[in-house]
């Protein structure tokens, strides 16, 4: 059971400013039912003074999502739009006396809804910039790509160093095995590179020319031998088979690149930008492994270096 503060409980059991606001002239809607939380923030802003005169919310989500929404409305009523804009997710969490680390994303949703609503008021389009790959460390919201970047850029070699540079693994420690796997994968990749520093090698952020064929990749035992073309076709067919299921949930998947055992895909629709994408990725991976009879790893296209 979560250890919620009294303040969180108070705002969950007796939420302030819940419900629709008919007179709203600024509305922010963020989240998705796929991810398990969604928030509609409605504000009535005085167009002359820019003061937020009223605010209400509707939230689909857990206890801390509802509490964060309620807290947010209390925090912004009476403020001007510009004063409200400086409120961060940490401020929301602090107002509530803290949230469990795994629940910090609820406060993030509040801060995003606020920005979306203000953008709506100003007649701007708010673009969600939150991009998450498969979360490795849930406590700190760190994905594999972030760890890979930190390891490559800073030449990290140990778990402790990764924690020091990224915070990943610094709390509950359940992610240590996964961090070590990411670390090992990067180190193995580095070791596989030719030792001499060719000037043509990417410095950072430049995609190396795709290898012509996964030459050194010994086929996994028992996997029937396929030509590269056959293999590519099977991968494309498997992806096609998965799409209807994702489309039913309002999403989609697209094959971007094949690099040996790494299959890069792009998810779209419901689920992009939330950690749900991690499990969708896993599903795609399971399907491909099954179809191909060999082990492959499905990665988001955003992990293609330089993409």
């Amino acid at each position: 059971m979560w250890n919620y503060t009294d303040k969180v409980k108070e705002h969950f059991f007796n939420p302030k400013n819940a419900g629709a606001l008919e007179t709203a002239n600024a509305v922010g809607e963020v989240g998705s039912i796929t991810c398990g939380d969604a928030l509609k923030l409605m504000m009535k802003v005085n167009p002359d003074t820019n003061v937020i005169e009223d605010a209400r919310f509707q939230t689909f989500g857990c206890g801390s999502a509802i509490a964060s929404s309620s807290a947010l409305t209390e925090m912004i009523i009476g403020k001007t739009v510009d004063e409200a804009l400086v409120i961060t997710n940490r401020d929301i969490a602090e107002y509530l006396g803290g949230l469990p680390p795994e629940k910090m994303h609820c406060s993030v949703m509040g801060a995003e809804a606020l920005r979306a609503a203000i953008a709506n008021f100003k007649g701007e389009e708010w673009v969600d910039d939150h991009e998450e790959g498969e979360l490795v460390c849930k406590c700190f919201g760190i994905d594999a790509a972030m760890i890979e970047r930190a390891v490559t850029v800073n030449n990290l070699t140990t778990l402790e160093e990764v924690t020091n540079y990224t915070k990943a693994g610094g709390s509950c420690q359940t992610c240590h095995e996964k961090i070590e796997e990411v670390l090992e994968a990067v180190l193995a990749k580095q070791a596989a590179k030719p030792p001499e520093k060719s000037p043509l090698l990417p410095v950072a952020g430049i995609k190396p020319a795709p290898a012509p064929a996964p030459k050194a990749d010994a086929p996994v035992a028992a996997a029937p031998k396929m030509t590269n073309v056959q293999r590519m076709q099977s991968i494309m067919m498997a992806i096609e088979e998965i799409r209807p299921q994702l489309q039913r949930d309002g999403g989609d998947v697209e094959l971007v690149d094949i690099d040996g055992k790494d299959i890069y895909v792009r998810l779209s629709g419901a689920c992009t930008g939330c950690s749900q994408s991690a499990s969708t990725m896993m599903g795609v991976q399971m399907k491909l492994v099954e179809k191909l009879g060999e082990f492959v790893r499905v990665k988001p296209a955003s992990m293609l270096v330089g993409a």
């Binding site: 809607e29 796929t34 939380d37 689909f60 857990c62 206890g63 629940k103 419901a270 082990f295």
Partner: protein
Amino acid sequence: MAGIYLDNNATTRVDDAVVEAMLPLFTQHFGNASSMHAFGGAVGGLIEKARQQVQALLGAAHDTEIVFTASGTESDNTAILSALEAYPKKRTIITSVVEHPAVLSLCDYLENKRGITVHRIPVDSRGNLDIDAYKAALSPDVAIVSFMWANNETGTLFPIEELAKMAKAVGALFHTDAVQAVGKIPMRLADSAIDMLSLSGHKLHAPKGVGALYVKRGTRFRPMLRGGHQERSRRAGTENAPGIVGLGKAAELALQHMADENTRVRALRDKLERAILAAVPNCFVTGNPDVRLPNTANIAFEYIEGEAILLLLNENGIAASSGSACTSGSLEPSHVMRAMGVPYTAAHGATRFSLSRDTTEEEINHVIAVVPGIIERLRALSPYWSKSGADAKGFAPVYS
């Protein structure tokens, strides 16, 4: 009312008679069963009695087929690893997508770290296994098939005997994770094709930290824990004598209460389910309502989130559980709900009520009285809901 406990698939209250049977093992019969003196001998006898009590519950042919372990998880791991070690040339496992993590995580590990091929057989929208996919996956390379007997979230039962026979036809071992089924439905393993079966004490009114693995006589077996020769060298380590004696007593009691479980408890579950479905719009039962455990009701409430439901139930003195993401700290709803294709609109609100022989009609009446108000209260907060009912279309947030 001192709290209504409807989370018996998570764990059960230890029966008073079980506690009573265990107590002498702490201060009176505290010897080591392996010792060559009377202190040890007394304990050895009590453990053997427990073995027979578990044998009786399972309808097994021999008491020596029961190996005591420390948990359902240990039993599952032992069975699968044993099969791979006993048949080193066979490199394939078949299991289902809806197994407990005790099986699924192990299979993921074996696939990633040891290159074992794992077939995870899908289920349909009611949680029924895709038998054709299972047939297609069966081959002489399969070391072991492991299917759960009853699903912990929905209570849905797999046709275990039929599945076991199919595995035997290709020479594969058959294991079933029966942690949720044992004690709730009658079994006769003596006449069955099942080679191995896992059970866990704390799901049947015995204490936590004791379980058993049934290994049919003649099944090739390799121990997971090596050391002393306890459990006929199948599971080394000084026996958890109090726990084992408790499990034995609990097995005896489960056999006595089997009829009650399948009549009175089933009727209470059905009453609860019918009343909620009648009073609350936009909710439905997940899993296969016709083929399932007598004690489990899993109801998916659309457009609201499970953790919020649990918190409000808890305020009303009711303990239930949820496959919701937020209760586990992850963002994805239960893999069981997803495997059945339950839409996200409902998967996040799936709520499990699991009864036991301790459950009373008065308690169920109270739950029936309280649940509709809780659901209504949360829906009033939900952007996917308006006064006229579900309103998923009217709300289209940015990254959805």
